[in-house]
Structure formats: C-alpha cells, structure tokens
C-alpha cells in the first residue's frame, strides 16, 4: 500500500475510533438540519390578535369572523374600546390589534370610506411587517368581496408599528445582542479559563491549598462578571449613541436583569468545564450548549412562535429566551417588573438551580 493510501487509512481509523469526532460528524449535521430547517421560518402563524369594535354590526362581525377563521391569527380579545390595548401589548398578550373606526358600519353602508387601524408589535424581528401584511390581506379580501356584492366600498386601512415605528432593525437585534455578548463572556470564557487551569496543572495546586472550592470559582469568575458588565454598558451605549436604539425602561432594571443572566451563564460555563479537563472540549461544549441555543432558540433572530412545538418546548429551557423577552420589554416597550416579573422569576429559578449544580460539580478533589 502506498504511503498516501496508508495515510488516508490511518485518518479514517482515527475518526472511527474517536467517539467524539464521530458524534460531531454524524449527529451534528442531523441536529443542525432539524434546527435550522424548523427554526428559520419566515412565515408566521397564530398571531395573537385583539379586535377593537366600538360599534359592532353585521359587517364588522363578518370581518371579525374572517380574522378568526384563518390559521394566521388567533383571536384572543374582542374589545369595545382601545383603552386597554397598551397594557395588552406591553404584557405581550397580543401581538397585533385591528381597530375599527367608531362608525365603520355606518360609513360603509353609506358608501363612504370606512377606516380600520392595524397596529402590530414591531419589537419582534421579522414579524412586524409580516403580521401587518397578513392583517391587510384579510381586510383587502373582505373589501373585494364587498365590491363584487355591490357598490363601491372603500376601506382605508392604516398601519402602525408599535414600539418600533421606524422598524429599525438595530432596535430588534440589540436586546438579543446583549444576551449573546453575555453568553460568550460568561459561559465560553469561564469554561475555557477553568479548563486551562486543569490543563496546565495549576488546578492541582489550588485544590491542595486551603482555598475552598467556592473561593476558587468566585475568584475566577468575578473578573468575568465585571467584564461582562462593562460589555453590556458598552453595547447599550453604542446602541443609544450610534443607532439611536431607545431605552424606554429603567436602565437599572436592565443592568440588574443583565447581572442575573450573567450568573446563569456563568453557572452553565462552570458546569461545562467541570466535565472535562481539555480546553478544546470545553470550548466546543460551551459553543454547542450555550451559543447555539442562544442564537437559534432565544427568539433573538428567529421568532419562536413559528417553530414546531418540540423546539418551542426546548426554547423554554434556554435562559437566553427569557432574558431576550426581558431586554426587549425594558428597552423597547419601556415596561418594568410589573410586566416582567414572570420572566424574571423563571430566570431566577434557573440561576439558582444552575449555581447549586455548578458548586456541587466543582469537586474538592481530583477524583
């Protein structure tokens, strides 16, 4: 056998005998196809819709029924007035609202242009304009049908984007970006730093010293917490100054939640590093276990609502998902804890569990 063939054969044997490489080569592509195939969806479904119908009659009811009939929408509220819309948008209960003008039916009957207002929650990327177009499509369909039935009908629809009127994409990405940055610094760098100590052998000496495990971990990660914090401030400052991203809520709340999320990521990083002594493995583990879910399943770029239910279920255990909701809420919607307490509590719970697991996993001995 020639030298080159021998070399090829050897490489093949290495791959077959190394379970980790095998896993990456076979399992990862499958996983990624599933994830990307299902996560990247530009079509929307089950948009939570509220209809404000101050003077209901046959025509408004017919239009309402059309909305209710399509899969694209899920009618969650029918309201007599627009007063509660703000609150519903703020809490995320609805993503879109269709507001009939006061005398919609009258004007329609008299052949005058009747007005409908479509408001969409544009703090979610991609969704804003899509939701809008869907609503407009239903309305225009109705308009056409009315026209064929007889008489000039004109429905004037006006669309507004809530929370992100200019639909600036930077507004959409920045909150998710904060999560991303914190994940890298807290999870990835921590995992690498801890395993580097193991690789160089200095961890042995630290363990034999009077230092308690909690001291070793805290000493290591505190600097990363500070760095993470500084990064968050930098990202927010850049966002405000360069891209004019709004910060409608409390900066303090944002930073506090950021700190909470940092702790969550740190614990994840520590957990990952406790399972291996190799920096390389720790890095791959951190990438697969934190960054990938953060990008794909946090709602950072791809809307979670459009994913099939198994992925939506998995997204619920990705801490980044909850933090993105919080960050968007604070920055774009300007809401406070009164709306975000639910997500904050979930994040808090995750953090406590992870910190406990991480501390326990950090052994006081080598074996």
């Amino acid at each position: 056998m020639s030298a080159f063939t021998g070399l090829l054969r050897k490489e093949g044997l290495h791959i077959l005998r190394d379970r980790r490489t095998l896993f990456v080569v076979i399992f990862m592509p499958i996983l990624q196809v599933v994830l990307f195939g299902y996560a990247i969806r530009t079509d929307i479904s089950a948009i939570r819709l509220a209809i404000v119908d101050p003077s209901p009659d046959a025509s408004t009811i017919e239009l309402r029924n059309r909305f209710a009939a399509t899969d694209a929408f899920r009618l969650v509220r029918v309201l007599p007035s627009a007063g509660t819309l703000d609150r519903l948008f703020a809490s995320g209960a609805i993503q879109e609202a269709v507001v009939f003008d006061n005398d919609f039916a009258n004007r329609l009957a008299r052949g005058l242009p009747a007005r409908v207002l479509v408001v969409a929650d544009a703090s979610e990327p991609n969704s804003g304009s899509a939701m809008q177009s869907y609503a407009l499509a239903v309305i225009q369909g109705y308009e056409r049908d009315l026209a064929t039935r007889g008489g000039g009908v004109r429905i004037l629809s006006e669309a507004r984007m809530r929370f992100n009127p200019t639909r600036a994409s930077s507004n959409l990405f920045i909150p998710g970006l904060i999560a991303f940055v914190l994940t890298i610094i807290s999870a990835l760098m921590t995992a690498i730093s801890l395993t580097r100590e193991k690789e160089t052998g200095t961890m042995e000496i630290l363990l034999v010293s009077p230092l308690k495990p909690i001291e070793i971990i805290t000493g290591k990660v505190l600097s990363y917490v500070v760095i993470g914090f500084v990064s968050v401030l930098l990202v927010v400052a850049e966002a405000r100054l360069i891209f004019s991203v709004p910060l409608r809520g409390s900066l303090l709340l944002l930073l506090a939640e950021g700190l909470l999320y940092t702790l969550t990521s740190l614990s994840l990083g520590i957990l990952i590093s406790s399972r291996t002594s190799s920096q390389r493995v720790a890095m791959i583990g951190a990438l697969a276990g934190t960054m990938l879910p953060t990008i794909l399943l946090s709602g950072f770029i791809f809307p979670i609502e459009s994913m099939p239910w198994p992925l939506r279920a998995v997204a619920n255990i990705v801490p980044a998902k909850w933090f993105v909701i919080i960050a968007r809420g604070v920055m774009l919607k300007g809401v406070g804890l009164e709306y975000l307490w639910h997500e904050t509590l979930i994040l808090l719970g995750m953090t406590i569990v992870l910190v406990a697991a991480a501390t326990r996993s950090f052994r006081i001995r080598l074996a």
Binding site: M1, A3, G6, L7, K10
Partner: protein
C-alpha cells in the same frame, strides 16, 4: 541497504544555526562512522534538539556543512528523510491504532512492498515477544513495550542511520537494558545509532559520545578516553564539570 563499514554516516563541519540574535548551535564539528553507537549528550536548552533537527532534514543550518547518509542537509533533505529512521520520547506510535496497523502504516510511508512488511512484521513481533499483541491498540501496551516497539518500527525500512531522542525516559531498569540490547543488535547489523539520553550510565554504552554546552561541543571521544582526559570516574561527573560553568545563566 547497509553502507560499507566505517564510511562516515554523519559528517558535520562548523555547523551553525541562529534564531535571530540567539545562536542555538555554534560551529559544531564531528563525524559518526557507520555502525557506530553515538551518544549525543547535553542539558536541555544546550542545542541538542536543534542540532538533531538539522541532521534529520527538518531544519536548515545557518552556516557550516553537514552530510547525513551521504546526502547534503541543505539540498537533499528529502533524500535524508528516506534513508533515516527516527524515534522520540514524545511521540512514537499512534495510540489508537493497533500494533499491526502502526507497522503497516510506516511500511506504507517508506514505500515497502506488502510482502516485505508482512515478513518484517512477523520477525519483529517474534523478537519482541509481541505476537499475541498484534491486534492490541498501542495505548493498551505498557510504556516499556511501546518504546521497544517504536524503536523496531523506526528500523522497519532498514535505514542506515537511526536517530533516537531520549528513548528510555521513565522506563523501568530492566526494560531499559533490553532496549539497549536492541540498539546493540542494530549496530551489529551495521545500522548507525545516534542517541540522546539523560541517563549518564547509558552514555557508557555508546562507542563515542559528545557533550554539548550552550551550543558548542565541549567533549568528544570514547567514554573511557574522556574520563581519563578529565580525570573523572563517571560520565555524570564529567557532565557536571562541563555544565557547571554555564549554570546560572538561566
């Protein structure tokens, strides 16, 4: 494949290698005859590894000349690689391949026919007592066996010179001596053995030795000659005497 006895296997004349302003190898000159067992000694950082890299065709010198197995180190490094064998303490065989797979791989790399590989493998395994371990992965073998196997594999293509870099580090005393008997056997067959080691008693097993200090060769000759010349009883003492001058310049 074996050269005429006593033809110079390695000739180095004022061989020098500089890295920027640092001179790792400083005008070393020595010859190694065919079939000799030559001990190349020196402290870590004395320049041994750099010199070996030059002689094995991995690094080109800054100045001076050297010929290995009749080939020039500047212009014929590929030819040198084909004619020599190499084994180091840090790496010898692929741990996740079996004994036979390793042998077959190296056979292929050096372009040996399947017949030849098969025949030589059988002979090697019998000599080492490893016939029943042909299908065992190398990582399951104890250290001493691995080193002996690695040495034999380095000789598979019957090179005229074999370079050994600290081949017996950390190995138990009996296996160490078995290893050296393999070296003696190879030398008796005409193979030149160029070996470095930190065990000073192993220096005594060599026909001739050289000691490098700070890039220069400070001693060259048979162990007996050198002990007489410097008035010491053991090579260890000789080493200490030569190296002590430069310690402190860490």
């Amino acid at each position: 494949m074996t050269p005429a006895p006593n033809a110079a296997a390695i000739e180095a004349h004022e061989l020098t290698r500089r890295f920027g302003s640092f001179t790792a190898v400083d005008k070393i000159s020595f010859d190694v005859a065919g079939g000799e067992v030559f001990g190349f000694l020196g402290a870590n950082g004395a320049g041994k590894t750099t010199a070996i890299r030059i002689l094995t065709g991995l690094l080109s010198p800054t100045s001076g000349t050297a010929r290995v197995a009749g080939h020039d180190v500047y212009t014929e490094s590929e030819a040198i690689k084909r004619r020599i064998g190499y084994m180091s303490q840090k790496f010898s065989l692929y741990e996740d391949l079996t004994v036979s797979e390793n042998i077959r791989l190296y056979g292929g790399i050096y372009d040996l026919s399947r017949e030849t590989v098969r025949e030589r493998t059988a002979r090697m395994l019998i000599r080492l007592g490893l016939e029943h371990a042909a299908g065992t992965q190398v990582r399951a073998l104890p250290l001493g066996w691995r080193q002996k196997l690695a040495f034999s594999v380095a000789l598979l293509h019957e090179p005229s010179i074999v370079f050994l870099d600290e081949p017996t580090s950390g190995v138990d005393p009996i296996t160490r001596r078995q290893f050296w008997e393999l070296i003696y056997e190879a030398a008796a067959r005409g193979t030149t053995v160029f070996v470095t080691t930190h065990y000073m008693d192993e220096a005594e097993y060599c026909d001739r030795i050289s000691i490098m200090v700070s890039g220069r060769i400070e001693a060259l000759g048979t162990p007996a000659e050198l002990k007489r010349k410097f008035g010491v009883d053991t090579i260890d003492e000789l080493f200490v005497r030569l190296a002590r001058v430069t310690v402190g310049a860490a």
